[in-house]
Symmetry: C2
Subunit: 272 residues, 2 copies
């Protein structure tokens, strides 16, 4: 309970940055990418895998420069992805010092942390649909909160006892319903407000927000479990100690890394 | 020497398929993707890593269906990449049976083999520039052949003795020069012929082909060394036994996996 209140309070500055949008969101994602890669790679170090921070951070810098020079040009993004995977492979050429796992973990850091979190920036750049960036946080955090309380009061059947022993099927359902309802309410009442000048050009988005709430809730739980799986295999309890006793940035944003792509691709593949 | 002649002969049906283009190139890339993933994953099995063939092949099927339904829409490709990485992570949820390496190797198979080879299909779909698909093969194989002969006759200084003991710096330079010259000659004399109806709409491409010849030669050698590095770490000599005694499809196409993205991104980022 205390964890949730404290992590809730930590979200206040986050909400201000998202509300301000633009460069503030970019700055936020750079911080998440930077600290997230550091935490993930520390976790890999704990299992004696040594990914390359130089390649990951270099690749991140290139991505954000591309984003400024060629926003919304997806061919640059896939070229960047291919180049990053090549660079991570080339890292292995010092064959006596480095392992396959070092190269693969570098790729994971680049794609899972840097690229996934970058989707928040891309959502913000869609202009007319930039207000939907709130759904990234809303679906992730509402799923978490509603799953927690439903689990506490109604939880009977374990969801995946080996991977995350406290999670229940009732909690997963409660979290999903909570996310759908919150995203729907947001779409109906708040989206026109946060969209400002764009709201006139936008059709009613309630149904779309309900759908994103559903898919987002499923992917938020997959993101949460993915982080749990990595941590278990690394033999660590938390990724970091950003909030003493309550984990690092990757522990707070594990769901967001999976909901951000959901919202972005819903916008570009369904809405645009 | 014998290896090179035999592998040269194996390239004849390949050239026919590339000449025919369209569905024939797609079929060729499906075969390379299918067999390449199988060989790479067999290599991982040799080091007790068990990637998911189901996820890799499922993901490959989705990519080729996307390619038919939405050709040249890059947002579908990056959505597919993100989804494939998520699916590979979710594979780890059976936490007691599977390792982090299983998930990471699955991602590698999808990106390095399936996605990289798919660039040949994408080049073929650029229509006006589809004749440049020949540069993928030309830069890869000319680098290989010229590096071999330059190395045999002039080679004195080892390039990277730990990774690939036979390669020399002289060979690397000779391969690069050979690739530049062949790609340049191709651009000047053959490209207008193979481009058919599109050649009228195309400016003179000689300089572009020289540049692709240079970048392609460098990346072909990186691709070759990347495959060597993976094989060394897996403790295998060849990826497969497609041509008895002369390796598998991944041994023949290791350079092509790296030259295909070079040609494709040169087309979409520089020429288009």
């Amino acid at each position: 309970m205390k964890t949730r209140i404290i992590s809730g309070l930590c979200m206040v500055p986050l909400l201000v940055l998202v509300y301000l949008g633009g460069y503030f969101i970019t700055a936020l994602c750079i911080v998440i990418g930077f600290m997230g890669v550091n935490e993930l790679f520390n976790g890999f170090n704990a299992m004696d895998v040594r990914p390359s921070r130089a390649i990951a951070y270099g690749s991140m810098m290139v991505l954000y420069v591309i984003g400024v020079l060629f926003p919304m040009e997806h061919e640059f993004i896939i070229a960047w992805l291919a180049a990053s995977v090549m660079a991570s492979s080339i890292y292995m050429f010092k064959i006596n010092e480095r392992k396959i796992e070092d190269a693969l973990a570098t790729m994971l850091g680049i794609i899972y942390v840097i690229f996934f979190s970058y989707h928040v920036v891309m959502i913000d750049r869609t202009e007319i649909y930039s207000g939907l960036v709130w759904l990234v946080l809303l679906s992730a955090f509402c799923t978490d909160i509603f799953a927690y309380f439903t689990g506490v009061f109604l939880g009977k059947h374990k969801l995946c006892p080996n991977l995350s022993p406290k999670k229940t099927i009732e909690g997963a359902i409660g979290g999903t319903v909570g996310s759908i309802v919150c995203c729907g309410l947001f779409g109906r009442f708040l989206l026109p407000v946060v969209s400002g000048v764009y709201s006139a050009a936008m059709p009613d988005m309630t149904v779309h927000c309900l759908i994103i709430g559903l898919i987002g809730a499923i992917m938020a739980q997959c993101g949460d479990l993915t982080a749990s799986a990595y941590k278990r295999k690394m033999g660590i309890k938390d990724y970091g100690t950003l909030i003493p006793g309550h984990g690092g940035i990757m522990d707070r944003f594990d769901s967001v890394l999976f909901t951000a792509p959901v919202v972005y691709y819903y916008i570009v593949l369904v809405l645009m």
